[in-house]
């Protein structure tokens, strides 16, 4: 294995070391672009410290994936090498594949990260293109592809595409995939802690170092290996799931952040002119180039009315206010009530602009819970004292208490502050009426 003579200083993980080969990937045009793509889009309009980028996050994911891999290598090395041998891989090859995949997993992010994805073309099945698909397109593009094949090993590009979700992964490689996208992967470990640090909140902090120290691998009944935790690591895993829950409610779906996400989406839809039919064209833009357009569009009405309108909202930080919101577990009934309420409000207040946000939905966890109707991810737990194995669902009662999904529905209104109290009061009355008649 090549030594790692290049280092970056990272505010979350300390020094992150790279090999000379990996530095070439970092210096590629595609990866350099991530220095100008903010991790959390316009969240800095709410939490001013949230100026960090996909660049540092990608380095962080590579670092944590490596630490997790090395923990498994140290504690379950024999199992790991036997497993990889079945598909003709060495442990060193697997490690370099994992590091490259972790480093490049977000390389295809659009300007403003997830906020920009609305402008990607639809796939043939009507589903939106994902940033992972753009990442795969970038990795297959000649600059990165040539570098990867030359510096790592022949065939690595297609192996990265497999780990990023394209095609069917042989069971022997599932263990690597779990470290990049799984229930406690390097991606989540990094962004929860990093976003928390930069936003200046404590919600996403959890003891990921302890989690890494308790990782090992076991033979899986599904073929290949599965991640296993020492019993002492359960509490950090519980903390990670709670950290995710709190970050959803306090940062990722914060009411003001959401409204700026909506303006951004509406702006980008007006700004977009089919330029991403060729996914490689995503490389032409980053936050800086799009923000230049936003600043220009906010100044003048020359582009389109929609561009001017939403650019001004972003530039001047003038936003709609929440007049109604559900709890975090909205269901079909709550959806009907919210839709009905907004309709009545529009009829009554024809001079007010309302926005209904019904898409603030996400998955909080996918762990298996005893007695739940859905199948979920289950993990073996190893008791280092007795040498016995149990299952996570037998050991922890926390997971069954936290809902798997998050869904909040909000109605926003564009009114001056002195009308807000009256409008909120009226909305509550309409909502109570809707609740009775539904």
């Amino acid at each position: 294995m090549e030594v790692h003579p290049v280092r970056f200083r990272d505010p979350v993980h300390g020094f992150i070391h790279l090999s000379k080969s990996e530095l070439k990937f970092v210096e590629s045009k595609a990866f350099r672009r991530l220095r100008h793509i903010k991790q959390l889009a316009l969240t800095y309009l709410v939490y001013p410290g949230a100026m960090h980028t996909r660049f540092e996050h990608s380095l962080g994911v590579m670092e944590l994936a490596t630490r997790a891999f090395e923990a498994i290598q140290n504690r379950s090395g024999e199992l790991l090498s036997t497993n990889l041998k079945k598909i003709g891989m060495t442990v060193d090859q697997a490690k370099s594949l994992l590091r490259a995949t972790a480093l490049l997993h977000d390389v295809g992010h659009l300007p403003f990260s997830h906020g920009g994805e609305a402008v990607l073309p639809k796939n043939s099945n009507g589903e939106p293109t994902t940033h992972e698909q753009v990442s795969i397109a970038f990795i297959r593009e000649h600059e990165l592809s040539d570098l990867l094949e030359k510096e790592l090993y022949h065939g690595v590009v297609e192996h990265i595409a497999l780990l990023l979700g394209e095609g069917q992964l042989p069971p022997e490689l599932l263990i690597l995939k779990r470290l990049i996208s799984g229930q406690f992967d390097a991606d989540k470990m990094d962004y929860l802690n990093r976003d928390s640090l930069h936003c200046g909140v404590g919600y996403g902090n959890f003891d990921y170092l302890r989690l890494l120290e308790t990782l090992r691998a076991e033979e899986s009944t599904e073929g290949g290996l599965e991640l296993c935790l020492d019993r002492g690591g359960i509490h950090t895993l519980e903390a990670m799931m709670l950290a995710r829950y709190w970050m959803f409610t306090q940062v990722y779906y914060h009411k003001t952040r959401r409204i700026f996400d909506i303006y951004l989406r509406l702006y980008l839809q007006a700004w977009y002119q089919d330029q991403y039919k060729d996914l490689l064209r995503v490389m032409d833009h980053d936050d800086v180039t799009v923000m230049n357009d936003i600043i220009q569009d906010a100044k003048e009405q020359g582009g389109s009315e929609a561009r001017h309108k939403y650019a001004s909202r972003i530039r001047e930080r003038k936003h709609h206010h929440v007049i109604y919101e559900t709890d975090n577990n909205a269901d079909a009934k709550e959806m009907r009530i919210a839709v009905g309420t907004e309709k009545k409000l529009r009829q009554k207040y024809t001079d007010v602009d309302f926005i209904l946000d019904r898409d603030a939905r996400g998955t909080l966890h996918k762990f298996y819970v005893e007695g739940d109707e859905k199948m979920g991810d289950e993990f073996p737990i190893y008791d280092t004292i007795s040498g016995r194995y149990s299952r996570l669902s037998e050991e922890s009662r926390i997971f069954e208490k936290v809902p798997r999904t998050f869904h909040v529905i909000r109605i926003y209104a564009d009114v001056p502050n002195d009308r807000l109290t009256e409008l909120r009061k009226e909305t509550t009355q309409i909502e109570q009426h809707e609740r009775q008649v539904i």
């Binding site: 043939s124 589903e127 979700g165 073929g223 859905k374």
Partner: protein, 191 residues
């Protein structure tokens, strides 16, 4: 969660939702039975393998190829009354067409028409198998196709059977795995 009243749909809105709903409808018609979660997972797996553009990503799991996303999509279909779950046990599911199925499908006429034959063929082909048999055929198919992709050549029977026996050895004998492999190969179901 409360389901949506007749005619009102808020959650299911994509082509994949319609293809999934049509698959459930085709299976219940072909078999005369409701279907559980394992059968639905495997039907989607084979529908995707036969070219139906379902966006689900499958990985090998306890009962063969599995995609968690199918659960979220079926949740949306249930909430909108496109399908219903007739099971009284929360740990089980018995999916059947719901009261909003036809109005929902009528919104996706073109997409359904394009994949109707494939969806019906898959539903018919597996309508007589139980969940355990589906687990075996889909696992053999998954191992065969993932090894084909990984090694860039069609794997020989021994490699596939050995791997399947390693995973499923406690449930199926080597003789049953070999016999099922032969049936799948002879029916040209292995890529």
């Amino acid at each position: 969660m409360a389901a949506t009243a007749q005619g009102q749909m808020f959650f299911a809105d994509k082509i994949a939702d319609a293809l999934l709903a049509y698959l459930i409808k085709s299976y219940t018609e072909a078999s005369g039975r409701t279907l559980g979660r394992t059968i639905l997972q495997k039907l989607c797996y084979f529908a995707k393998a036969s070219g139906v553009p379902l966006p689900f990503r499958f990985e090998i799991y306890h009962y063969g190829p599995f995609s968690q996303e199918i659960f979220y999509r079926t949740d949306d279909l249930l909430l909108d009354g496109v399908i219903e779950d007739r099971s009284s046990d929360p740990a089980q599911s018995n999916f059947a067409p719901g009261s909003n199925l036809d109005p929902f499908l009528s919104r996706f006429g073109e997409a359904i028409k394009q994949h109707e034959a494939n969806l019906k063929r898959v539903a018919m082909m597996f309508s007589h198998l139980d969940p355990t048999q589906m687990e075996l055929v889909s696992t053999i198919h998954y191992i065969h196709s993932s090894y084909s992709e990984w090694f860039k050549k069609v794997p020989d029977k021994d490699a596939v059977v050995t791997s399947v026996v390693q995973i499923k050895g406690r449930k199926f004998t080597i003789q049953i795995v070999e016999k099922t492999y032969d049936i799948l190969r002879d029916a040209t179901l292995l890529p």
